[in-house]
């Protein structure tokens, strides 16, 4: 039989080992997800880029298949968005700032490319039922308000799943097009929404409720 001191020593050693193992597993899982999201982002990036290049090289095709393909890309991008939300969530003790920021930057580029393709498709094919929303947030300045706005946009997206495309961007990022929009629209307060419907732009500064956005979508 072991004496009490030996039991305490063994318990401390085993606890430290198993706790360290748990932390290492948690860290590995986080990095595994980070790498997986990174791979997914790369995969979607090449899909979107190739689709974009293809749309530049040919006259715009207005077939149903192309529209379905754009919707398919939208869903793929949304999955990356959901995973990114986890990777940067505050309860995550393994938060890898550099890795997440890299993926986020790439994610914004993909979204923007998709936005350009959608915009071209709407204009070239004269489609009037689609609404595009560019949503700018900045968690350093509007955490609660932007959270609420995110809730409004999620509901809006679910209500108008087939004819609404939402692209969200963090204004604090140094991506060229984000800075371009910041300057062009003088975005200094958040949330900031640019709603594009039937070739017209509507701007919303600060929190905007569901009815207001829906009203502009349906006019």
């Amino acid at each position: 039989m072991m004496d009490n001191r030996s039991i305490i020593k063994l318990a401390v050693i085993l606890s430290v080992l198993s706790f360290s193992l748990g932390v290492m597993i948690g860290y590995s899982i986080y990095n595994h997800i980070l790498n997986k999201v990174f791979e997914d982002t790369n995969q979607i990036d090449s899909l979107v880029t190739s689709a974009y290049l293809f749309s530049l090289s040919k006259n715009m095709t207005c077939e149903k298949e192309y529209e379905d393909f754009l919707r398919y890309l939208k869903e793929k991008i949304a999955i990356v968005g959901r995973k990114l939300t986890y990777l940067e969530s505050p309860e995550n003790v393994f938060y890898n700032k550099e890795g997440v920021e890299h993926i986020k930057s790439q994610y914004f580029n993909i979204q923007y490319l998709h936005f350009i393709m959608m915009n071209n498709y709407i204009k070239s094919c004269n489609v009037s039922n689609f609404t595009l929303i560019l949503y700018f947030y900045n968690n350093d300045y509007c955490y609660e308000e932007c959270n609420k706005q995110g809730g409004v946009l999620t509901t809006l997206y679910l209500r108008h799943y087939y004819d609404l495309y939402i692209y969200s961007f963090d204004s604090s990022y140094q991506n060229y097009f984000i800075q371009y929009y910041n300057e062009k629209y003088n975005i200094t307060t958040w949330p900031y929404i640019i709603l594009i419907k039937s070739d017209k732009e509507y701007l919303f500064k600060g929190f905007t409720d569901l009815e207001t956005l829906e009203k502009y979508m349906t006019t």
Binding site: L10, S15, I29, V93
Partner: protein, 441 residues
């Protein structure tokens, strides 16, 4: 740093502490080998069982009936019932037993609290060994003989305490306490090995008479006199042993209100007694490890409760805000979002949730397995309940323990700081910090 991030780090610390305590207990149990020592007592000593009773008309008959059935020579047994000024029929019921059995004596005194009734009974008693027994508890038939042996196996032993189990498990609160008492018994097994038992519970603890001659009687102003006398005995280097085979049943509080009252008294008593005796105990395992862990648990449980409540409120608030800004469009949020998710997306989401919460699942599984293992070992001593029922009690315990214990500890701390006056039985407690400050000024 975000408050949620801070809470995440606190959770990690709590996980480590819980892991350490569980790991220690597990190694201890796996390493534990019960010493099989037996002794034949040629001439049994005279034993006095003191039963303090206050408004116990519902329980006193059962308790005295069970005591009369104890396997112990009746000419060596003395049962003293001290009616502590009951307002009900306790005294008359006990008197009937006095007429029926010549080894039962019944006394009546003014209400002064359990400790004063115990002291009154001890002074009236003639036994070499004194047993204290709450009127709402009763022992198994062989308990007295089993426990008395400990004094003969090791003559240095001054006090022997039994294993206490709950009598009824009819309400959720009592089912919860079944596991709670199992944990207490487990901890006594561990503390016994560390020679660090610091509570001699009311139900059927046995004292050598000389203990009272050496250290005095029960403290009549103390709200947890069973802990106070144990620590006083420890301060005098007296030996306390635990007899896991001696099973004593006790009636536990039936409602949350009565449990709350009991536990606040226990925790307040713990704080008072710890502050009083922390520097008087020479046994370093008791003063540093056993009491250290008890204090640590009384700190991390409320912290864990605050974290859990904050996280729940935060999540609820976030979800409520989402519903609010969505004009409570429940159809779109729940039904339509489900319809729009195809099966592969649904599976992907589940898979992702499991992966991202993996270490929490793993930890929960690990803790639950350890808990189950403890209960399985505990069942060596307790076989009254079906295993399926025990699993249900464990589930109830795991569901409520953090919240109940957290509430009890936080309430005790509140009373310790701001409480003006609390009453239990015949005792009035005024030992709060605010009262001390008032007295100083």
């Amino acid at each position: 740093m975000n408050i949620i991030t801070v809470f995440s780090y606190i959770t990690l610390v709590i996980i480590f502490i819980q892991l350490l305590i569980s790991m220690y207990t597990l190694i201890f149990i796996l390493n534990y080998k019960k010493k099989i020592e037996d002794i034949e007592i040629k001439e049994y000593p005279r034993v006095s069982i003191i039963v303090p009773a206050y408004n116990e008309e519902d329980n006193i008959s059962d308790t005295l009936e069970r005591l009369s059935e104890l396997n112990y020579p009746k000419d060596k047994l003395e049962i003293i019932v001290v009616d502590d000024g009951s307002k009900d029929n306790t005294y008359n019921i006990a008197k009937e037993f006095e007429r029926k059995y010549n080894f039962i004596k019944v006394f009546r005194k003014e209400n002064g609290g359990k400790a004063s009734a115990l002291n009154y009974g001890i002074k009236k008693s003639t036994g070499e060994y004194i047993v204290t027994l709450d009127a709402d508890s009763y022992p198994k038939k062989d308990v007295l003989i089993e426990m008395i042996k400990y004094f003969y196996i090791d003559p240095d032993v001054s006090i022997v305490v039994p294993s206490i189990q709950t009598k009824d498990v009819d309400t959720i609160i009592r089912k919860y306490q079944y596991v709670d008492y199992a944990i207490y018994n487990f901890s006594r097994l561990v503390l016994d090995q560390l020679d660090s038992i610091y509570i001699v519970p009311g139900p059927f603890s046995i004292f050598k008479r000389e203990v009272f001659e050496k250290i005095g009687y029960f403290d009549e102003k103390n709200i947890t006199e069973d802990m106070e006398i144990a620590l006083r005995a420890r301060a005098h280097n007296l030996k306390i042993k635990y007899c896991p085979n001696a099973i004593v049943y006790t009636i536990t509080p039936k409602t949350f209100k009565s449990l709350f009252k009991q536990r606040v008294r226990w925790y307040l008593g713990f704080i008072d007694n710890y502050l009083n005796y922390r520097n008087k105990i020479k046994n370093e395992f008791l003063s540093e490890v056993a009491l250290g862990i008890a204090i640590l648990l009384k700190i991390i449980i409320p912290v864990a409760l605050v974290v859990a409540v904050y996280a729940s409120i935060y999540n609820f608030y976030q979800h409520f805000m989402f519903l609010y800004v969505s004009n409570f469009d429940l159809y779109t949020i729940y039904v339509k979002s489900f319809m729009l998710s195809d099966f592969s997306k649904f599976i992907e989401d589940i898979r992702f949730t499991i992966i991202r919460q993996f270490y929490l699942f793993l930890f929960t599984f690990l803790m639950f397995s350890m808990f189950l293992l403890f209960i399985l070992i505990y069942r060596r001593y307790e076989k009254d309940h079906k295993f399926s029922n025990v699993l249900l009690y464990i589930f109830i315990y795991l569901l409520f323990s953090l919240y109940l214990n957290g509430i009890f500890i936080l309430s005790s701390l509140y009373y310790k700081i701001f409480g003006s006056e609390l009453r239990w039985g015949g005792i009035t407690w005024r030992n709060s910090l605010i009262n001390r400050l008032r007295n100083i000024t």
